[in-house]
């Protein structure tokens, strides 16, 4: 019996104008935008490759260890085509030094694009589904019950020995099948375009991630269809149902996400917690600075000059870079000379001893400051932005967006994975320098006896986290969507069973 019902509903839906329109418009939008998005990705990839090459050369031209600061680039994520998330917006070039522990807040942007183009907004595939398919789901649902009631066919159907729950289920299944057509068809075209692009090579993991996006999309569609069905069940007339459905759509998709983010204050003033953490970090470095000055005062070399009067072609500088908003504070110094005059030969051992003391203690202070900063950043900046994300989830759009970002790896956690790798790489670099005994070496600051050989420098590599990590991050929101579906379905059943025909 239920199959007959499904068949009837399916036929009803497939023959409608709205179905044809849904397929056409989704297909058109997805294909047009995928072409644009792929081109944009290729451009970013090109600029990434160029930047990697430049940085690779730059470090090899550095003559001393002190000047040899490595820069690392964040590759663009090919799945950003589905949901761009933070992939394009956060910095993609970070500078590694033993002086501080880098985070995403220190990353800079390296882009070859015309910056004025930023005023034109771009859209991704998930956004298209978010807007068009949710609208379609509501349009499929609004008259499902109210319409049948108006036409009297509902009464007719119920004269047969059918349970009301089965009617609902049949309607749900058939509508979802119809909605899947535009979703899958447009994704198919997008995938064809993606795989035809030589610069994008998707692995098995990536296909699983895309599968996750599809699954989430289906759950999202189901939520919107059920919202429409609920409206249809509680209203007596299709006109009212339609009006209500459209306003609910406008409120959930168009208004709420933007409204809630605008309403939350985002101030430039650091919170009290951040201020105290910043002061603690400053204390760490102040203590370090005291020790450093004490060393300079008590060493064999008279005076407290950290350059030991050495001068030549090159430079020396030291300062304390700071940014209270992101709790950044550290001691930065660099001393590098291409050639040294013979007359400074006497001072060289002093400088060597000094750097042998200075660099390890800088690293130690940086570690200590990082412990404080890591926690404080979590407590202030990250927590605040996560609160906004949580508030967004009051609309299914927020859940859908978060889950698909997690699948694509363009969410905050995905981007932070890269910076975890960067921090690990920094440790590798420090170990490498240590193994070369670089801190105590003359080559730390002077290249007069030959430049540093960088050929054995460990290379940076970033492997995206496995698909199970993505799944772990996406599952909470996917489950929320599914649970929302189930509870909506139960609610509709309750309403529908009690309703008079």
């Amino acid at each position: 019996m239920i199959t007959t019902l499904i068949g009837r509903e399916l036929l009803n839906n497939l023959m409608t104008f709205r179905f044809a329109a849904a397929v056409f418009i989704t297909l058109l939008l997805v294909v047009a935008n995928t072409v644009v998005l792929i081109e944009d990705y290729e451009q970013r990839l090109e600029s990434y490759n160029a930047s990697v090459k430049t940085h690779h050369q730059e470090i090899r031209e550095k003559q001393t260890y002190s000047a040899g600061e490595v820069e690392v680039d964040r590759p663009p994520n090919p799945l950003s085509i589905f949901n761009v998330g933070l992939d394009k917006r956060l910095g993609n070039e970070v500078w590694i030094s033993h002086n501080y522990v880098p985070t995403l807040w220190e990353a800079r942007m390296n882009a070859s694009d015309n910056p004025y183009l930023n005023i034109l907004s771009s859209i991704d595939i998930v956004f298209i589904f978010e807007v068009v398919l949710s609208l379609m789901a509501l349009l499929f649902a609004y008259d499902a019950l109210a319409g049948e009631r108006e036409h009297g066919t509902l009464r007719l159907v119920l004269t047969h020995p059918i349970r009301r729950g089965h009617i609902l289920l049949a309607k749900y299944i058939s509508a979802m099948l119809c909605l899947l057509v535009p979703l899958l068809l447009s994704l198919l075209f997008a995938m064809i375009l993606l795989t035809a692009t030589t610069s994008i090579s998707l692995g098995a993991d990536d296909f699983l991630r895309i599968g996750g996006v599809v699954l989430t999309s289906i759950a999202y569609l189901s939520v919107f269809y059920l919202i429409g069905l609920l409206i249809s069940a509680v209203t007596q007339r299709t006109g009212t149902a339609l009006m209500l459905a459209m306003f609910v759509w406008g409120a959930l998709v168009l208004v709420y996400p933007n409204l809630i983010l605008a309403a939350i204050r985002s101030s430039d003033i650091p919170q009290a917690k951040a201020v105290s953490a910043f002061n603690q970090i400053k204390q760490v470095w102040d203590e370090f600075d005291r020790e450093r000055k004490q060393y300079l005062a008590t060493d064999d070399f008279p005076g407290e000059d950290p350059t030991f009067n050495i001068d030549g072609i090159g430079f020396f500088y030291e300062y304390f870079p700071k940014d209270p908003l992101t709790l950044l504070y550290f001691y930065y110094s660099m001393m590098t000379f291409g050639e040294l005059d013979e007359k400074f030969e006497r001072e060289v051992p002093h400088a060597q001893n000094y750097f042998q003391f200075l660099i390890p203690s800088t690293i130690k202070a940086a570690e200590r400051a990082w412990l404080i900063r890591k926690q404080a950043l979590e407590d202030t900046l990250v927590r605040k932005s996560n609160m906004k994300r949580t508030l967004l989830k009051l609309s299914p759009v927020g859940m859908y967006d978060t889950a698909t970002q997690a699948w694509a790896g363009t969410d905050l956690k995905g981007v932070r994975d890269f910076f975890d790798a960067v921090r690990q790489y920094r440790q590798t670099l420090i170990d490498y320098l240590d193994s070369k005994n670089a801190f105590a070496s003359r080559k730390w600051f002077a290249a007069d006896e030959g430049a540093v050989d960088w050929s054995t420098l460990p290379a940076f590599s970033f492997k995206k986290s496995g698909v199970e990590t993505n799944a772990k991050r996406a599952l909470p929101d996917l489950l929320l969507l599914l649970m929302l579906s189930v509870s909506l379905f139960m609610l509709i059943s309750l309403v529908f069973i009690k309703s008079e025909v």
Binding site: A32, R108, N118, N258, L325
Partner: protein, 465 residues
Amino acid sequence: MWHIAKRELYDNLNSLRFALATVLLLALMLTNAVVHLREHPVRMQKYRDAATESLNTLTSRTDLYDLAQKGPEKLYKKPSLLHFCADGGDSLLPAFTHAASHFRGGELKSFWRMTYPSATPNLKNIDPDATKIDWAFVIGYVLSLIALLFTFDAISGEREHGTLRLMLANPIPRHTVLIGKFLGAFISVNIPFVIAVLMNLLVISTSSAVHLDASEWGRLGIIIGIAMLYLSLFLVLGLLVSARVRQSAVSLVVLLLIWVSFVVFMPNTLASIASRFSPARSYDAFQEDRRQTRRAILEVYYPQLDETDDPSKRMVISGEYVTEDATQDGRVREAFLSERISQVSQARTITRISPVAIAQHLLEVFAGTGLARHLQFVENVQLYAREYHEFIADTERSDPESPHIIGVRDGMSKKKVSPESIPIFEDTLSLSKDFNAAAMDLLLLTLFVIVLLAGAYLAFVRVEV
């Protein structure tokens, strides 16, 4: 006609959609006002601090050579008081230009030229993306959707219920019915909209942090007028489709599809595609061009310098070199800027197929934000730069003891320059210029309405009841 409009109005006033539209618009407009009151003083303070600092540095200089060599410092774009009407992506556009002089070793210092730094994106922001809630959003997206929801069944609904036949049985011409329907819908959408706008302005104008003067109120009036024109466009579109299509449900589906493609997607997608057609040079290519230009000038003047030992001749050549270097480098920079801007302008021109993009442009122009405003700022800067050059030349000429060689310290007047005589940059907005920038868009929007109105009339006249 008025009778029909009145009937339509009464029908709508009691409807669910009227209540929902009022709630939605009020919520949006109040949020907009509150956010503006929170952010605007901060923005103004930042601008004032920066502009004052730059001005103080400038007026603290009394040496003419210093003034001529270092130039007018940073020039800041004045934030608009009507920022709440249209954000215009102002945070993505540069907020200042910088008169920069490169240091050259020795006695010879290069002269200033105007540089146009690009806006630095806020890379520290890890929050989720959101569209700014400004009037442009409320009008462009929400109001247009509401307009369609008010008109999709205006004709098809009556036909379904059979009341259209009843109405046309009376001796009323069809165009009167159409206009009556339009007026009724126009007034009933305008009631919640105007209420929301009034509440918004009430909140904003009662605060002491924001002062709107007569010219701003005039601009607001124009903006509301544009909003109503834009609203009419969608009302007429609704009537047109409603007259063509037999069932209200189908009419709404058609309208929503048109809305989604023209309002939500068309501007973004078209702009992305169009911006690929005429790409600006890359930054590296521009730097290379600069290097070559400057080297070419160097190669002309340095041999001349080497040839002569006469100090006065050397001074003349040096002066010419420094002036030429600054002029040519400035020219290359300007060319690059206009290349970049024309890429964006072109992309935006193509989006004019979509009425929401037209409305967005118009609102930006009259709110004094966005790209049009930025272009006016750049124009103001270039005018001021000319004025500044003239001021240097005039001051120089007025000193009879000076050898009049601009570009070298010894060649220029040693007289103290009074701070009052230095020209001050004023970033003014002129309404007539804004009208020039908006004329095209205004015309297009009006044309859209007229064409659709004619279409709706034709469709309705031919309709079978």
